[in-house]
Symmetry: C2
Subunit: 356 residues, 2 copies
């Protein structure tokens, strides 16, 4: 039976970059990959069309799909929406929650062809290859109670940072398994010297470590982790952390490479269904100008093939094709420097297709 892929272009540069990634998916189809590709609306695009960042039709289609390819959501157009539940981001958060996509994999890899793009010294980042495993459906993003209310004559805002043992264990296993397949080093990031919820986090990680004697587990406070990422990022192999810390650290780690336009991500649930998206945002300032870098989205397709469609060879071919166009000196604006060839979004997609 055909596998179903749902493409959700979203907002800003989303439509342009997913367009190129879909070309690559179609090329896989021509190579015999049995998939059906559908499209849907999410984020600001969903709100504009149906008054909801996650229209019911999109959610239903997402649930029925084997994998989702998402562009990006959000933009200034919707930033002033009074009703927070209508903001584009809620479309993304709703998909994560409704599909149970708790395991977020965010690689931070420095492509040797792009070493110059980093703001860090070459010796500090050359060969960088970190995998951040972020919990994506719990923590303070979804904790109850939350809100803004009147107390003692003034307004008070509040959110709840909460994790249960089973939630921690579930993401812990993803991280230990990942470390096992890589350099066998796992660093769990918490703030156990201040926050009770992360004391429990640390305890569960230690318990899990007994089941993974081949993986070396360490713990780091989040403030120190932010420092160590800047100071000596190559000390890390796999990092596991909660939703909020993961949001911050994965973006910092991505930026260490200087080319966040290159970094894909995967968000998986217990049954291997996954949502795949670039790490970068919707970049409204360059939307619609054929300037955006489609490579992170194309590499997200490679992750999809590997994690949800069990096609590691096709995944490797896509990654190889991306390496080839970089070797050939093709660069979108975000990764261009003197001596390379500046190309548009569509030209970059076509070049990958040719190299595929």
């Amino acid at each position: 039976m055909s596998r179903k892929i749902l493409v959700l272009p979203g907002d800003g540069i989303g439509p342009e970059i997913t367009r190129e990634a879909v070309k690559v998916l179609e090329a896989c189809q021509q190579q015999g990959l049995d998939i059906v590709i559908e499209e849907g609306l999410v984020g600001g695009a969903g709100y504009d069309a149906h008054g909801e960042p996650l229209p019911t039709a999109t959610l239903e289609r997402a649930k029925a799909s084997d994998a989702i390819l998402l562009g990006a959501v959000g933009g200034p157009k919707w930033d002033r929406l009074e009703d927070l539940t209508k903001r584009p981001e809620k479309g993304l958060l709703g998909l994560r929650k409704h599909l149970g996509l708790f395991g977020n994999l965010r690689p931070a890899i420095l492509y040797p062809q792009l070493a110059e793009a980093s703001s860090l010294k070459p010796e500090v980042v050359s060969g960088l290859d970190i995998m951040i495993v972020r919990e994506l459906t719990g923590g303070i993003y979804f904790g109850q109670p939350r809100g803004i209310e009147e107390r003692d004559g003034e307004r008070v805002g509040f959110n709840t940072y909460v994790y249960s043992e089973s939630e921690i264990e579930r993401i812990g296993r993803v991280a230990f398994e990942m470390a096992r397949k890589r350099g066998k080093k796992l660093c769990s990031v918490d703030k156990a010297n201040v926050l009770e919820v992360t004391i429990l986090w640390r305890e569960v990680m230690e318990r899990l470590a007994l089941e993974y004697p081949d993986v070396e587990l360490s713990h780091m406070y989040v403030d120190n982790a932010a420092m160590q990422l800047v100071r000596a990022p190559k000390q890390f192999d796999v990092i596991v952390t909660g939703n909020m810390f993961g949001d911050i650290l994965s973006d910092a780690a991505a930026m260490l490479t200087g080319s966040i336009g290159m970094l894909p991500s995967a968000s998986l649930n217990e049954s291997g269904q996954g949502m795949y998206e670039p790490c970068h945002g919707s970049a409204p300032d360059i939307a619609g100008q054929n300037l955006a870098n489609p490579l992170a989205t194309i590499l997200s397709v490679a992750m999809m093939l590997r994690y949800s469609l069990d096609q590691p060879e096709l995944a490797a071919r896509i990654e190889g094709a991306v390496g080839k166009v970089l070797d050939d000196g093709l660069r979108t604006a975000d990764i261009a420097y003197p001596g390379t060839r500046r190309v548009t979004t569509a030209e970059m997609g076509d070049a990958v297709l040719t190299a595929f």
Copy 2:
């Protein structure tokens, strides 16, 4: 009447570095500064002596003092304490809370003499001068309810991220005033696309901005702020944010300079009483070896003179003396590189004293 200074050496390298800073304070005394210097126990040192990280005698003395100089707290010796309320960190948090030290000023300055120490490219960080204003007595650090409890047959950990309008306004004013005295640019960091408490934060900052038309206010999501600090830190002048985000971002910002051993901090309450401490930690691995860099603590004395004792000239003299020893090529191990003169903790303190 004499002003009272309470010195709390704390743990790890705390005693060594405060010793050098006290020499500088005493030099100020000899120049006519009317102060009385007392000492007290806090952190692991407090726990070991009195079973409490913040002994009652220390708290009483702290309340009666005009300013506190703190070394550092914590270390592996106390990391396994079952009772979280006895951990060294609780001594520090208790002082902040009991004295109402809500306004934490953390400069991230790149000393031109130490430009090589940064892991970032020189052009990215040269001339860096950011001031991070972190709220220090609220947010998730102190929010109730908090704990670990049994729910539906498993344990759950939880903390509460909470701010009231008046808490936000109070730290906002500190930041706007600071920006007014500096480059007139204030960036407020939040996660208003996800967390209600930071929606209120953003709203209060916008309201305050009307009172400070000369200061340009911008907003940034915390994940983006972590990226921008790595990508182009010089875009920032003053950053204001909550307790947890401030913990993470100020450490990342400090590490951009490559010489966290140089960075002081101040924590102020409404009446100008303040606690001053280096940004770095207790570094148990090098404690007692006369290796630690005392300059951050000495520069914390300069901040004390400026913010709590109204002695800007003495403050400038200390800062000048530190600049002079750096110009002379003196370096503790953490900031040493070929061609400079390696000195011990005590030698560095003495050199500052000579240059004072």
